[in-house]
């Protein structure tokens, strides 16, 4: 049974009771909430996730709770909670899903130190995994969403999870968070995309989440071998440019942008070194998604033939 099949009432009952179990692949979370409207949003962006029992071990047990006192009624607010703590300031109640997603990501970044966590999107096709580091203004999430619309398997939009022993990439499958103009870009690029509701004027602007595709969800426990590291850089009207990049510089950029490279020390150095040494590395400047995907298709095809 899929989460979408629970319906709003079924999801609401789980959120208010034992919790809604979400298996992201590398991490399992149990979500609880008494916030109205969250059930419908979760039903859309986690539609293809299987319904699981909420007992047993979970890496994260967290959720949202309506603020107490006056804030329950006047400009209502919601709090993110984890392990009985409220680590953030409350958010407006009508931004429930963005707060939950950011909170869950924060928990993962704080806790998942058995693996190296890169700040990167990861997609895969024909056995070739592509790491897209998230540097500011890169347009990484938009490109990840567009690649998924063209048949790439989504492993993650936010976390590139690297297994320390062999540098394989593990899926951490959560919805792709699109912001501001990217929302309409993806709507036009892939009209059938499973976009959740738009949350206007959050702290990060307008936000909407793209549901992971069913095929990616079904393969969320399947690692992928890293083969390409692409540093995307979007620029309106920019012609396509694909330039090889020094692997040493790629290592430096990716490690500096990692969530936990520092604390993992030598093990992270070895794992990232293995990953980068085995990948082709490019800087991709683009102004048109179709052109960018065409270039990436070419690189993936070339690597697939060499493997």
């Amino acid at each position: 049974m899929r989460v979408a099949e629970l319906g709003d009432a079924g999801i609401r009952a789980r959120l208010a009771g034992p919790g809604l179990a979400l298996d992201f692949g590398f991490v399992r979370a149990r979500v609880r909430s008494d916030v109205r409207g969250l059930e419908a949003a979760l039903g859309r962006v986690y539609a293809e996730f299987p319904v699981e029992e909420a007992d047993g071990f979970f890496d994260v047990t967290a959720g949202l709770v309506r603020a107490r006192g006056l804030r329950r009624f006047v400009r209502p607010q919601v709090d993110f909670f984890v392990d009985g703590e409220l680590p953030f300031e409350p958010f407006p109640a009508d931004t429930h899903l963005p707060l939950l997603e950011w909170g869950l990501n924060w928990c993962i970044a704080q806790r998942a130190h058995t693996h190296l966590l890169l700040h990167a999107g990861v997609v895969e096709r024909r056995g070739v995994a592509v790491v897209l580091p998230a540097l500011p203004g890169s347009g990484k999430s938009t490109l990840v969403a567009a690649l998924c619309a063209r048949g790439y398997r989504l492993l993650s939009d936010e976390f590139g999870v690297v297994r320390l022993d062999d540098a394989m990439l593990l899926p951490l499958l959560k919805p792709v968070a699109l912001k501001d103009a990217s929302i309409d870009v993806i709507r036009k690029f892939a009209p059938g995309s499973a976009l959740g509701p738009v949350f206007p004027k959050t702290r990060k602007g307008d936000v909407a989440h793209l549901a992971p595709p069913a095929a990616s969800t079904a393969r969320r426990h399947e690692p992928a071998a890293p083969a390409l590291v692409l540093f995307p850089q979007f620029g309106a009207g920019e012609p396509l440019a694909l330039e090889p990049m020094a692997k040493s510089r790629a290592f430096a950029k990716v490690s500096a942008n990692s969530f936990n490279y520092g604390p993992l020390g030598r093990r992270a150095f070895d794992a990232l070194g293995r990953l980068v040494a085995g990948c082709d590395v490019y800087r991709l400047t683009y102004g048109d998604l179709d052109a960018a995907i065409g270039a990436i298709d070419g690189l993936v095809g070339g690597r697939a033939q060499r493997q």
Partner: protein
């Protein structure tokens, strides 16, 4: 004066293209070394040496410019400040 790695057994060095990344186990820091620094480090991975011996080791790999010994001495000072190498009289 002879130069040596501070932690020769645990210092990890990864050559990528003509540059190198080095992990300093004492400080848990990673440094990106340019091609010249990478060759100097290679020489010290092989064993302790004087500036003249390091210059000779590098010269076996690449052509070195006049005055290279001075550059090596300056570089060793920088690597010492990073805690990667030390000198013994």
């Amino acid at each position: 004066m002879r130069w040596h790695l501070v932690s020769p057994a645990d210092t990890a060095c990864l050559r990528l293209d003509d540059e190198a990344l080095v992990f300093n186990p004492a400080r848990w820091e990673t440094h990106l070394l340019n091609a010249a620094a990478a060759l100097v480090l290679d020489a010290l991975v092989a064993g302790p040496g004087s500036v003249e011996e390091i210059v000779a080791a590098v010269a076996r790999e690449v052509e070195v410019p006049d005055g290279f010994a001075g550059q090596v001495a300056e570089l060793l000072g920088q690597l010492e400040a990073l805690g990667l190498v030390a000198a013994r009289a």
